[in-house]
């Protein structure tokens, strides 16, 4: 065996995931780090969509503009619902840290319901716009709008299915290092979508109705 010194427990073996005696803890924290990096890439994805939207915002081609289409009560309601769901997902994580499985699942249910309400409102908004003749193929502005807002909505919908799957796993296994990491990851995801929505709210809706 050609290595200088086979490392003993004293030289930081615990800090390395591939040391023989690692628990799940190291692997789980590595997965959380990987998810953080994934969120960086997702930021880039939304950033690109925002750039496209900003470039094409004025290209309405004689069709309806944001000022005519966006309805203030609707998107303000969406905003409050999503922000609240972010708060309740935070409460779920706090319950998890106290190892209270039922409380944790309870808060996740509240989060899923709020998320579903948000998606429902968004679909409703889209349907109303299409009924008014503002479809994805009406103008460059509307294509960019539907793609940007729709991508966020798709992210939220995926998050809902994911969260329900995790609730089943919690019911089956309780709070273990693995389920704990999974809940940590989805709460990161959920807060991230919230941050993206703040930008959407500002750049698309508020600046749209100005």
């Amino acid at each position: 065996m050609q290595h200088a010194t086979s490392h003993s427990h004293s030289n930081g073996a615990g800090a390395h995931t591939h040391s023989h005696d690692h628990g799940h803890h190291d692997q789980e924290s590595m997965k959380v780090l990987g998810f953080w990096i994934f969120l960086v890439t997702d930021c880039l994805l939304f950033g690109t969509l925002f750039a496209t939207y900003v470039v094409l915002k004025a290209h309405t081609d004689g069709g309806p503009t944001g000022k005519e289409l966006f309805e203030i009560p609707g998107f303000v309601a969406e905003t409050f619902i999503l922000l609240t769901s972010s708060f309740t997902s935070g409460l779920a994580v706090l319950a998890m840290n106290r190892k209270k499985v039922n409380q944790l699942i309870g808060w996740l249910i509240v989060t899923v319901l709020l998320g579903a309400a948000f998606v429902g409102l968004e679909i409703n908004e889209f349907v109303n716009m299409v009924h008014e003749g503002a479809t994805i193929s009406t103008s460059a502005f509307l294509t960019a709008f539907f793609v940007l807002v729709g991508t966020h909505g798709l992210h939220v919908s995926v998050g809902l299915i994911w969260m329900i799957a995790l609730m089943v796993q919690l019911k089956m296994r309780g709070v273990t290092p693995v389920t704990q990491r999974k809940i940590t990851v989805i709460s990161l995801y959920w807060h991230f979508l919230d941050v993206v929505w703040i930008f959407l709210f500002t750049i698309v809706y508020l600046m749209g109705v100005m």
Partner: protein, 657 residues
């Protein structure tokens, strides 16, 4: 009934071209031959257990390598078709539409389905061994990445015989790639083939960043890490910042084509130049993604074969990192002629030229490493020596192209073609080939035959200059890219004929390499020591090929080139075996069939989207969702290799007593 089947088949399959009928026959025969071998030798179970479900980074790397060599063949045939068509004026070997398809698939395949997988193959085969890890950070995700790439590449390649290839250039600029100008399915194949494999590339980028940051052997500080791992880190950082842009760009183009959007169309307020900006915001960093690992390979090889530590380690690291940042500020140099204005062009011209500074520093570092070194001209070193002058000339013509006013003359001429082929072949291809020759014995346990390799080397090199030097001149003579034929009156004939001869020389060089691999499997010099080149880094401290768990005892690497330092300390005597008492059970990930099935579902979905068959697309996407959920519910994903098995393996390798 018969008539409707016939009309469907004539639109579904590509018809009317004898070349493609020939391809149909060869694809059919190859498929039958593979199936026959698998059934006759009863290899289905072996294939599934050992390869399709594997999460071992070494096997995944080998599969990447095999796939990329196949794609190199396909892209190379495209290149030879083009050169045959251009060899003389007024040749009618290919029709105009067919020529468009050929140059489109050549560019796309060579960059995305040859260079990228060859790079990921080297990442996988080398990085964990080099940093003293037992696998990458996420072995399962690694398998997902590979199969996504594989099925994406397959989807793209199918377009050749089913439905028709894309023909709007390798980056598919709108409005040409929009429904208004390309109503066929070819563009959809382009979008989905790249999209599916692009997701895999992004995942690989994340995977290797975490691997390098978190899985290094104890004692290996970042500034003690081997150069190749540094280059992988810098390349992966570019990947995570660039690939999301590609994903979005392709998705937006698809929205335009599939849902009638107006993002990049000529009507409805669309802006085609938005697409060109977006695709190059990914596309320019992409060329640095592929070249930085090649730089890392050269650093390893130069140090090993000069018997010296790499010169200017810190400046090498700094250069890698500054190139990865600068690469994001140069994209407009691909369309200086768009008319963005002098101030914008000047910014991007200066940023482009600035990249030459760290790159030049690296070239001098390699030269200084060789200075007063004890150089051995083994195959990897030959390719490295060929790379340096080639890349310097290619870089110099790049700086010429970076001069925005002059670019109005060079833009889209054969001068540009010659430039980027010189940096991509002279830099990337030579680099990866050097890396393959260098690490081949480590992965496969035998060296590649020297004599055949020298033939391949000289054919490649002479062929390269004969092919591309005339193209610089042709560019100045006014020949633009993507013309499928030209008249006698232009005077381009002789130089084009020379160029074609060079291309075929490179083709013969590739044939020699295939022969070399096949010959060496049987007769190649076996590597019994695990250290055939007198190497300097950790990957040479274990047997060739490495055991499944790589390192029986995790090494301590407290200095740069730690394996070399340690060899010097024991005066190059054989390493003492390890007492069996030091060995322990090893924690490893389990194989999984899910990545393969998951990616196959993506393929089905992609195929459905290509042909607008919504039922098939939905079916595929449901499959994607179900496989993700199935994996989410799997908790038993790893196991321990029993200590008896470790002891047995190590004793058999003569490394433990």
């Amino acid at each position: 009934m018969y008539a409707s089947i016939k009309s469907f088949a004539s639109s579904f399959f590509v018809t009317g071209d004898p070349l493609i009928y020939g391809a149909d026959v060869s694809i059919g025969l190859t498929t039958v031959a593979i199936l026959f071998v698998l059934f006759y030798f009863k290899k289905w179970g072996w294939l599934w257990r050992e390869w399709l479900t594997t999460v071992d980074h070494k096997k995944i790397g080998m599969m990447y390598l095999i796939a990329s060599l196949l794609m190199l063949f396909r892209g190379g045939v495209d290149a030879l078709l083009m050169r045959a068509q251009l060899a003389m004026p007024n040749v009618h070997f290919l029709q105009a539409e067919h020529y468009n398809e050929v140059f489109t698939t050549h560019g796309t395949i060579m960059i995305l389905f040859m260079a990228m997988p060859m790079m990921f193959g080297l990442f996988n085969m080398v990085v964990p061994l080099q940093i003293g890890a037992r696998d990458v950070a996420y072995p399962y995700l690694n398998a997902v990445s590979f199969w996504l790439f594989f099925f994406g590449a397959m989807l793209f390649n199918i377009s050749f015989v089913i439905g028709g290839s894309p023909d709007a250039g390798w980056l598919s600029y709108p409005p040409l790639s929009e429904m208004s100008h390309s109503p066929g399915v070819g563009q959809n194949f382009y979008i989905w083939g790249i999209q599916i494999s692009g997701i895999g590339s992004l995942a690989t980028g994340i995977n290797f960043i975490v691997t390098i940051l978190k899985m290094r052997a104890p004692g290996m500080k970042l500034m003690k890490m081997p150069m190749f791992s540094w280059s992988v880190l810098s390349s992966s950082i570019i990947i995570i910042f660039a690939f999301p842009i590609l994903t979005v760009t392709l998705a937006l183009l698809f929205i335009d084509r599939f849902l009638g959007g107006h993002l990049f169309t000529m009507d409805g307020g669309g802006n085609p130049m938005m697409y060109v900006n977006l695709i190059w915001m990914w596309g320019h960093p992409e060329v640095y993604i592929v070249v930085l690992p090649a730089f890392g390979i050269f650093s390893e090889i130069v140090a090993t074969f000069s018997r010296k530590r790499i010169f200017g380690y810190k400046s090498m690291v700094f250069a890698l990192m500054s190139i990865s940042i600068l690469s994001f500020f140069t994209w407009v140099h691909h369309f200086f002629t768009m008319g963005a204005g002098a101030d914008v062009n000047v910014f991007f011209a200066i940023a482009t030229m600035a990249i030459g500074i760290p790159t030049g520093a690296k070239v001098f570092n390699w030269l200084f490493t060789m200075f007063r070194g004890r150089i051995r001209l083994e195959q990897p070193m030959l390719w490295t020596l060929a790379f340096i002058p080639c890349f310097v000339v290619g870089g110099a013509t790049g700086v010429m192209l970076a001069v925005a006013p002059a670019d109005y003359q060079y833009h889209n001429s054969y001068f540009l073609i010659a430039h980027f082929h010189q940096v991509l072949i002279g830099g990337v291809v030579f680099g990866y080939l050097a890396g393959i020759y260098y690490w081949w014995p480590k992965l496969f346990g035998f060296k590649l035959n020297e004599r055949l390799g020298k033939w391949a080397f000289w054919l490649w090199n002479i062929g390269f200059y004969v092919c591309f030097m005339p193209q610089y001149a042709l560019g100045f003579m006014g020949m633009t890219r993507r013309v499928y034929t030209y008249g006698w009156d232009l005077g381009w004939g002789p130089l084009n004929l020379v160029s074609t001869i060079g291309a075929f020389l490179m083709g013969i060089g590739f044939v020699f390499q295939v022969w070399q691999i096949l010959y060496s499997v049987k007769y190649g010099e076996r590597d019994t020591t695990g250290d055939p080149w007198n190497g300097r880094t950790l990957e040479w401290s274990i047997p060739s090929p490495p055991p499944m768990y790589n390192f029986a005892v995790v090494p301590y690497a407290g200095e740069q080139d730690s394996f070399w330092e340690e060899k010097e300390r024991r005066d190059f005597a054989p390493a003492p075996p390890v007492p069996v008492a030091q060995l322990e059970a090893i924690h490893m990930p389990r194989n999984s069939g899910v990545p393969f099935i998951f990616s196959a579902c993506w393929f089905v979905a992609g195929f459905g989207f290509v042909f607008d068959w919504l039922w098939m697309a939905i079916l595929g996407m449901v499959g994607v969702g179900v496989t993700l959920l199935v994996r989410s519910f799997q908790y038993d994903t790893d196991y321990y290799v029993p200590v008896e098995e470790v002891i047995e393996t190590e004793i058999a390798a003569g490394r433990a007593i």
